[in-house]
């Protein structure tokens, strides 16, 4: 395996452990917004979609990129907005 690939794998493994640390103590109350919020982050694949749709590299690749941009945008925009909408419902007793 190439050195670059090893480096990427190294980053992957560290990020997974970081993810475990970040999420493991979240109270049950917030599981749904946490899930839809992290789901929106997985729309990060949009960056790859943009590169594919914007490159002049033949029709098929651009079409695939275009479709990827549509799907990833749904994921990102919808995910963040719906999470925000849910979190607006959460209020403490004192603040009316």
């Amino acid at each position: 395996m190439e050195a670059g690939a090893v480096l990427l794998a190294f980053i992957l493994v560290l990020s997974i452990f970081l993810g475990f640390e970040l999420i493991s103590k979240v109270p049950a109350t917030l599981h749904t917004p946490l899930m839809s919020g992290s789901n929106a982050i997985s729309g990060i694949t949009l960056l790859g979609a943009l590169a594919a749709a914007g490159a002049e590299q033949g029709d098929v690749a651009v079409w695939l990129g275009f479709a990827a941009v549509v799907f990833a945008s749904i994921n990102v925009v919808g995910g963040y907005l719906v999470t925000d909408r849910m979190l607006r419902f959460f209020r403490k007793k004192d603040d009316a």
Partner: protein, 459 residues
Amino acid sequence: MSAVVINLVYIGAAVCFILGLKMLGRTESAKRGNLLSAAGMAAAVIVTLFSQEILTFEWIAGGVAIGSIIGAVAARRVQMTAMPEMVALFNGSGGAASLLVGWAAVQGSVVDGHATLSLFALATVFLSILIGGLTTTGSLIAYGKLSGRMDSAAVQFPGQAFLNVALVVTALVSGFIFVHDPHVFGVPFWLMLGTALALGVTTVIPIGGADMPVVIALLNSYSGLAASAAGFAIDNLLLIVAGALVGASGLILTDIMCRAMNRSLGNVLFSGFGSASGGTAIEGEARPVGAEDAYLMLEAATSVVFVPGYGMAVAQAQHVVRELAEVLEKNGAEVKFAVHPVAGRMPGHMNVLLAEANLPYDQLIDMEDANQMLPRTDIAVVIGANDVVNPAAREDEASPIYGMPIINVDHARTVIVLKRSLGAGFSGVQNRLFFAENTRMLLGDAKASVSALLGEFKD
């Protein structure tokens, strides 16, 4: 813009995601956390547009516009009860996008019908197509089951395990051939794509409706891993990091859900729970109670714990229940809501439904706190919950739900159960709670029953 600047902004975006996720873990900071994460995403998208790889913008502009409008409208319109299927659809979109990004990466490198990517890059393309494809169709099936467009029961047929193994082997073999001889439109490529999509279907159809919290969490994890795989394919570090964070968080939620049902992930994925029934037969008689008597009991109580289940949401009773809680508090009682981790159709779903009904989150307590409090509680009111309050999980070793952590409502002085009829729960298990000495059954539609109680208080 130079690649260095772009990568520096990517680091900033990764920090926003990490801090955003951390802030999403506390109710006070959750909203800001989500905004921070969205800001990181916006920054990453904007600098990507300035990269030298991008030469034309019309397809990008069109795609972003279409996707954003669909996403925004869906996010605005969706009912909170339908949140699980909405999240399933968003998951599926993310999976489809990662699949397409992987595919476009090979397609873009083609010279004379052959992809010119490195062996390693091709292997990661294979992974992004496999995980992305499985996430896409798996999420669609989950959507179908959750929204009631499909029968939500576990679908099982002879040879199911064999079919799954055959699909996995086909995917791996065709992937191996593709990686070593990358024809984009050759048979191995189509086989690899087809089996990935088929696997999503065959792995989700055998899972029953009440196990959906686990499936949604697992698919969430897959959509992150698919993004990571796509990141490897196009050499983008931010995709790898962000995808891995999501993959890990999805796995943790999957694990929490499995523990709350006292089942292993393998058992959830392959056993088709809900088809079994059993347990020791129950002797005794249920004691029905009318709204008037239930009112007299609640009126005299100084501490009340509500235990809502998905049945409450189905009856759309959350608003009247919150009103009843307010009336009881005015009457001097201490009122809490105990929420079981798997109440609802996705992790934490019940909490969102109660928050939407304007119930302050400091009135929500989790299972452990509830179980400490219940022995000192005058009345526990069970609304539309069944298996999660069944004492058989504690006492009856023959019961299929034995060992599942439950809310011990039977430890309260008196239990009032609001229920449509005396039927069994999702697991098909009769509930001995309904026949206990200290249990009173208030039969009928949950919303109508609670409204009747409210009426008694107002008179």
